[in-house]
């Protein structure tokens, strides 16, 4: 009889019902089901099991098919034999041993025969099957189904018991091992279940139905108990020195267990190999986490307006001070100590230079230092570069050609300047240039690689550089290539101290480093104060820098925060 099965509670409803009579869920979208109720099952002469396989649930169908295959192949494992105290045997109410059974059991059987609800579903089904067997219908088939159902019950009890094999008695264990076929073992292993059952549990749960077992089997939320936990529990129940005697004392049985001394057991921990790099990364991560979780002192809530006011005052002070020092008139007072010996040597070379001399000017500074280098070079260039001097220009910086052209543009006519082009000294060193000493000085020929030093020689070399590295390469190569030619350095203040040893060793004729020395030379050569005023602005800027440094250190130091940081470190 087709019914409507509620998708919420599973209750059976009539085909005309629009909602479940149990839970009230809507049944409008539910299709009629051909599953019959329990009464029909009993009256249908084991109809569920005698129908075609498609009437079985999927799991039962799969199990049955596998078992059928094994039977056909003549597998000796077959269906498991149930023990003597099998619950199905106890349900054989019409057996010959009725005479020996006690009275209380007879009363129970009588009541069970009258009341259909007194036994479980499986019991009812088996009873109905036996009745049909007595009727002579499909004897073999029903026997197979009977034993198969018995075996399924055992498996369902396995599922609910979850006990390991070791907890069983030896006889039960042996029976279970014999009854377990390969496919059942695979299923049990896949489900993470132990391979044996506890017969006590079987007897306690013999009234459970197959459907309940299937529900429990599909209940994924109910996870099996981990084996390790069970082992710990077992260990906790026994003495410290020994482990329990688990199953059997039969020495011939390979599966039998013996009493084992706990001291003989060796629990090997898995080896954990950590490389040094991984350890360093882990330490760094740990340090980062510790640093993030460390308690920090709350930042002081300072007034934004106050800080803004302080910054404004400092900015105005800096701008006004520099502007006054730059644009106010007056004679710049220069100390006498600005004129250094290497500066005097350069001045002597400039005064001794002939009027029709040829000079090689090497531009080796970046545009950012153009202002400083032009101030440094202008006094000496005004002294040595005039209309009668022939100038060769070579650059080793990317913008050297442009910077050199601007520097010489107002000092000498364009036709007196020969641009030897750009040479990448920083990339290849000056040796490439030095190896072309025999090449001509044709400035207009391309490519630039064909150019080299003037073959006819020069009366002096002026190297304008902003860094020690660039100047060093030129000094090393030129002092070896044209050692008789005077080499003079016009360097930025940052490179001056590093280049001073070249003057002391005699490789360099003269040296000017920084605006201060240029101002002293300008005073000595021309008496002008162009560089001296810049020098005064420079002094003002340095003084303001020192003042801000001192004030900032005094008012900006946070001793508590520093102590906290040192404590963390």
């Amino acid at each position: 009889m087709p019914v409507l099965i509620c998708p919420e509670c599973g209750a059976e409803n009539d085909l005309t019902a629009e909602s479940c009579q149990e839970c009230g869920a809507s049944l409008l979208d539910v299709l009629p089901s051909t599953l019959s109720n329990q009464e029909e099952l009993g009256q249908d002469d084991l109809s569920v099991f005698s129908q075609d396989d498609h009437d079985l649930p999927d799991l039962l169908n799969a199990l049955k098919r596998e078992d059928d295959l094994q039977v056909e192949e003549g597998d000796q494992g077959g269906y498991p034999e149930m023990p003597e105290e099998s619950p199905s045997e106890g349900l054989d109410f019409g057996g010959a041993e009725d005479e020996n059974i006690p009275d209380w059991l007879k009363r129970i059987r009588e009541r069970a025969s009258r009341e259909k609800d007194s036994s479980g579903e499986i019991t009812q089904k088996i009873k109905a099957a036996r009745e049909s067997l007595e009727g002579g219908k499909d004897v073999e088939e029903h026997e197979n189904y009977e034993s198969w159902i018995k075996y399924l019950r055992v498996q369902g009890i396995d599922k609910g018991a979850g006990k390991p094999m070791e907890a069983e008695s030896p006889d039960d264990n042996q029976d279970a091992d014999e009854g377990d076929s390969d496919w059942l073992s695979k299923i049990k292993k896949a489900q993470g279940k132990p391979l044996a059952i506890d017969r006590d549990e079987v007897s306690d749960r013999e009234g459970d139905s197959l459907l309940q077992w299937l529900v429990a089997l599909e209940d994924k939320g109910k996870k099996p108990k981990p084996i390790l936990e069970e082992e710990e529990e077992v260990q906790g129940k026994h003495t410290e020195d020994t482990l329990p005697t688990l199953i059997s004392s039969d020495q011939d049985d390979p599966q039998a267990t013996q009493q084992i001394n706990k001291s003989e057991l060796r629990f090997e921990l898995p080896e954990l190999s950590v490389s040094r790099e991984e350890q360093a990364q882990a330490d760094q991560l740990t340090a980062t986490i510790v640093d993030e979780r460390a308690s920090r002192l709350p930042r002081k809530q300072e007034s934004r307006s106050f800080r803004w006011l302080v910054r404004l005052i400092l900015g105005l002070l800096l701008i006004v001070g520099l502007s006054l020092s730059l644009f106010t008139g007056g004679k710049a007072e220069l100390p006498q100590g600005l004129l250094q010996p290497h500066t005097e040597a350069l001045m002597r070379w400039a005064k001794a230079l002939p009027t029709d001399a040829s000079l090689l000017i090497i531009v080796d500074y970046a545009p950012g230092y153009a202002g400083e280098l032009s101030l440094i070079a202008s006094p000496i260039l005004k002294q040595v570069v005039h209309e009668d001097v022939f100038v060769f220009m070579m650059s080793s910086s990317l913008s050297g050609t442009l910077l050199g052209g601007r520097l010489l543009d107002q000092l000498v006519a364009e036709d007196r300047v020969t641009d030897l082009g750009y040479f990448p000294v920083s990339a290849y060193g000056a040796y490439g240039m030095a190896s072309r000493t025999t090449s001509g000085d044709s400035a207009l020929s391309l490519p630039e690689l064909g150019k080299g030093l003037p073959s006819r020689g020069v009366d002096g070399v002026l190297l304008l550089s902003d860094s020690y590295e660039g100047a060093r390469m030129w000094i090393e190569q030129l002092s070896a290539l044209i050692p008789e030619t005077p080499l003079n350095l016009l360097a930025a203040a940052q490179a001056g101290p590093m280049l001073l040893p070249y003057w002391e060793s005699g490789q360099v004729t003269g040296l000017i480093a920084g605006i201060s020395e240029a101002a002293g030379m300008e005073r000595m050569l021309s008496g002008s104060e162009v560089v001296a005023r810049r020098w005064r602005a420079y002094q003002t800027g340095v003084l303001l820098l020192m003042a801000m440094l001192v004030v900032g250190v005094i008012f900006n130091s946070d001793s508590k925060a520093a102590e906290s940081l040192r404590g963390e470190q």
Binding site: P335, G368, L402, G432, S435, M498, A562
Partner: protein, 204 residues
């Protein structure tokens, strides 16, 4: 095979250049050829870098990615400078002023910002470290160096103060020369390691 070829080329080239310092007359023509090759390859590498940069900015502009306005500025400046340099030549006074009047202030401003940044970094160092001996030494050395750089301290020629001032002025030189010696030794070791193929900066 590729590895062996690269190692062989590196060793032969290095030994050839090194030998050129000692046998300049015999090896000068070959060294010039090698340097020409090197500079040519460097130029090609520069062109590749320029092309890659242009492609990156173009893709950024075409795909409407964030910051494409900066890509527009970069591409416009590049195209303008490139075309103007070809038309006017770098020797042209207008082109020279056009480039330098932008480039010089920008780089000088960066250096000025660098000075202020260094000042702030020194303040932060002392703020974080507190009044530790290293912080005090750093502060004193900075103040003394700046004061000496001003040139305001004047002494007699043969006095104890002049000697003391000379010692203070030579302190940075001594430290800098020590650093240079370390750099020279490091460069020598790196060169030897490359020649002996212990280091392979030419890649694998």
């Amino acid at each position: 095979m590729k590895k062996i070829l690269a190692i062989s080329v590196a060793i032969v080239t290095g030994l050839f250049v090194l030998g050129g310092y000692f046998f300049q007359d015999q090896l000068s023509p070959f060294l010039a050829l090698i340097f020409d090759w090197g500079i040519l390859l460097a130029g090609v590498a520069g062109l590749i870098g320029v092309g890659y940069l242009l492609r990156w900015h173009l893709s950024k502009l075409i795909n409407h990615k964030k910051g494409r306005f900066h890509s527009v500025v970069v591409l416009s400046a590049f195209i303008f400078a490139f075309v103007a340099g070809f038309v006017l030549t770098p020797q042209n006074a207008f082109y020279r002023d056009l480039i330098l009047n932008i480039q010089v202030p920008v780089e000088a401003s960066l250096l000025a910002v660098l000075a202020v940044t260094l000042l702030y970094a020194s303040l932060r160092l002392i703020r974080v470290r507190g009044w530790s001996p290293m912080a005090i030494a750093f502060l004193l050395s900075a103040l003394v160096s700046l004061t000496l750089d001003l040139g305001l301290l004047q002494t007699g020629s043969d006095s104890l103060a002049a000697d003391l001032l000379g010692i203070l002025e030579r302190l940075p030189l001594a430290g800098a020369r020590g650093i240079l010696l370390g750099m020279a030794l490091g460069g020598l070791v790196v060169g030897l390691r490359v020649l002996l193929t212990m280091d392979r900066p030419y890649g694998e």
